[in-house]
């Protein structure tokens, strides 16, 4: 079988496009986070199916990665410490309530 010059040129362009896509694909995969990893993760990353350096479901946690995470020095208002002793000072005084 002898291909026409026009068909040969089209075939060459298509082959170049396919080869280029295969070469670029890994880089794109690493740069685009998967579901659950939209927020960049810095430490203690669990879950999510993202590419790149993020741990996916079932991945073992790297024991060398932040073994003793420090508490946030400026916690958000919606992250209170729950296990605090109750605030219970009874004061000796004569009440003046409405009775």
């Amino acid at each position: 079988m002898r291909l026409s010059p026009r068909l040969t040129r089209t075939l060459a362009i298509a082959a170049f496009a396919v080869t280029g896509s295969i070469a670029v694909a890994p880089a794109v995969s690493a740069a685009v986070p998967g579901p659950g990893d939209l927020t960049p993760c810095t430490h203690d990353c669990h879950g999510g199916g993202g590419g790149g350096d993020h741990e996916g479901p079932g991945d073992f946690k790297n024991p060398e990665a932040d073994p003793n995470p420090q508490p946030d020095p400026n916690p958000k208002p919606d992250d209170p410490t729950v296990d605090q002793p109750v605030d219970h000072p009874v004061v000796v005084a004569q009440p003046t309530f409405t009775g």
Binding site: M1, L3, S4, L7, T10, L11, A14, A17, V18, S21, V28, A31, V32, P33, L38, T39, N74, K76, P77, D78, P80, T81, V82, Q84, V86, D87, H88, P89, V90, V91, V92, A93, Q94, P95, T96, F97, T98, G99
Partner: protein, 244 residues
């Protein structure tokens, strides 16, 4: 044969175009999720007691969650000497919305999170005016239920969401307030002064047990003395008190 090859090539081009279209929105999505959202008022999962971060310092409360908002200062202790504690039930960014122990009942303000320390509250007291019943719950589970006396028709106990401001040892175990009492952030709508106070509503014991279950007080909630002993020894400052 020539036509089949062209069909194959066209298919390859279409597939590649589709892949590119699928990748583009994902990459764009990463960029759009990084922009900051404006803070909004969010109810706390658990109520918090709020006190000044520096012991002995007044609590500065703003009218709105903005640095430029007018402020009110609350003394480090109450008139009875209790540590000043407020109740937070919501936040907006780095600000807590707090209930205030002032008139009118239901007053609220805002405190900066960095200016206060907070503690999660597990308890809640509910006073059912119609049933003359008080219920103490911890983590949603009933700890104690008791009949109570409430305000008479001309000096009714005000309804609303309040909190415990004081835990007092009354010194006189046989007085009208019983051995212990708890101050609340509620105030009488009829009495602006009473027994040297400003009409603050309390929950306390009694030297008249027969009044329990009736509407006879000047607005306070009376409970049997054994009940006030359990309440005052088991509830922290800031505990929500819901009257209705």
């Amino acid at each position: 044969m020539k036509m089949k090859l062209r069909t194959l090539l066209a298919t390859v081009v279409l597939v590649l175009t589709g892949v590119a279209a699928a990748i583009a929105p994902a990459a764009a999505g990463v960029a759009t999720t990084s922009h900051a959202k404006a803070p909004r008022v969010v109810a706390l999962a658990q109520p918090l007691s709020v006190r000044a971060a520096v012991a002995g310092s007044p609590l500065t409360v703003a009218a709105a969650p903005r640095a430029s908002s007018p402020t009110t200062s609350f003394a480090p202790t109450t008139d009875f000497g209790s540590v000043r504690v407020l109740l937070a039930t919501a936040h907006k960014g780095k600000w807590y919305r707090v209930s205030l122990p002032t008139r009118p009942n239901g007053s609220t303000g805002w405190v900066r999170a960095r200016d206060v320390t907070v503690r999660a509250l597990r308890d809640e007291v509910h006073v059912d005016l119609a049933a003359h019943m008080l219920t103490w719950r911890r983590d949603g589970q009933v700890v104690l239920e008791s009949p109570v006396a409430i305000g008479a028709p001309d000096t009714p106990t005000p309804a609303g969401a309040f909190f415990v401001t004081d835990l007092l040892d009354n010194a006189d175990d046989f007085g009208a307030y019983g051995p212990l009492s708890m101050g609340t952030s509620a105030h009488s709508d009829q009495l602006t002064d009473f027994a040297g106070g400003d009409g603050q509503i309390g929950i306390h014991g009694t030297n008249d047990p027969s009044s329990i279950g009736q509407s006879v007080s000047h607005g306070c909630v009376r409970v049997p003395n054994d009940v006030i002993t359990q309440l005052a020894n088991g509830l922290p400052l800031g505990t929500p008190v819901i009257i209705g």
